[in-house]
């Protein structure tokens, strides 16, 4: 798995590619999220467009990201998941935990007005 990151306004966008399935991936994603939080970002958007599949360990990585962000007053949203990943989200009910967007502009816009308590420091 590869990770790219980019700040767009006050949203920290984390773009993953490959497969999300545990091993060293877990630490890498965790560190990226922590680094975003430490830089003062509270709005985190994970782009899964180039992730062909996730396994349950990969779901755990996303769940950890969610919890880490929440504990620090932040929020993790997801975008551009494949129908294969969508099916695993439905089954595990992670679709009730994460907001998922089809389009980047919609995902970015959705953070507006949510930044009151988690503004960039």
């Amino acid at each position: 798995m590869k990770i790219k990151q980019e700040a767009i306004g006050d949203v920290y966008v984390v773009r993953l590619s490959g497969q999300l399935m545990g091993g060293p991936d877990a630490d890498a994603v965790r560190e990226t999220i922590l680094s975003a939080l430490n830089q003062g970002y509270r709005n985190i958007l994970i782009d899964l467009k180039d992730v062909s599949w996730v396994n349950s360990t990969g779901l755990g990585i996303l769940m950890s990201a969610h919890i880490t962000a929440t504990q620090n007053g932040g929020k993790v949203k997801l975008m551009r998941i494949s129908s294969r990943i969508d099916s695993i989200f439905m089954v595990t009910r992670l679709n009730t935990v994460f907001q998922v967007f089809d389009k980047e502009d919609e995902a970015l816009a959705s953070f507006e007005g949510e930044t009151s308590e988690g503004q960039k420091s």
Partner: protein
């Protein structure tokens, strides 16, 4: 629970790979090929591939602790309207009741970072059986029939 079975040799594909997570992508490619040769619908292909990956992840991570020298064995039985997949490891076995005790979609389970693998297999396949021989490894046998509608919402 289930025990080893004989299948007609002319329908069985066998596969084995070292216990390395990065090879799950090779397994995934094989499963995709088998499912497309069998004309499964895309939703079923996803369900089967997800489930085989879960069983294989457990073999690699839990049973073999990522020791690449220990192979995971797979058998695919390509039936007329059904695919049987067996995933066989050489681990210590485990307590299946305990492993399934917490519902990963419940208020407590959903916040955990683990405990979704077996649940996913059972939700996505038509049947999932475990033959756990304590100290001698685990055989997971899963089936999916082609006529079944996609059970992603199940």
């Amino acid at each position: 629970m289930s025990s080893p079975r004989d299948y007609p040799q002319d329908r069985v594909i066998e596969f084995s790979m070292p216990s390395r997570l990065e090879l799950l992508v090779v397994l995934d490619g094989l499963v995709q090929s088998i499912c497309s040769e069998m004309d499964f619908e895309q939703a079923d292909v996803d369900a089967i591939a997800n489930s085989v990956i879960e069983a294989a992840s457990n073999a690699v991570q839990h049973a073999h602790e990522q020791n690449p020298g220990v192979p995971v064995h797979f058998r695919f039985v390509l039936g007329e309207d059904e695919l049987v997949v067996e995933v066989n490891d050489a681990g210590e076995g485990f307590d299946i009741d305990q492993a399934m005790a917490l519902d990963p979609t419940g208020p407590e389970g959903i916040l955990k970072s683990r405990g979704r693998g077996i649940f996913i297999m059972r939700a996505m396949m038509d049947s999932v059986d475990f033959d756990i021989r304590m100290g001698k490894g685990t055989l997971v046998r899963m089936t999916k029939s082609r006529s079944t509608e996609a059970e992603a919402e199940a």
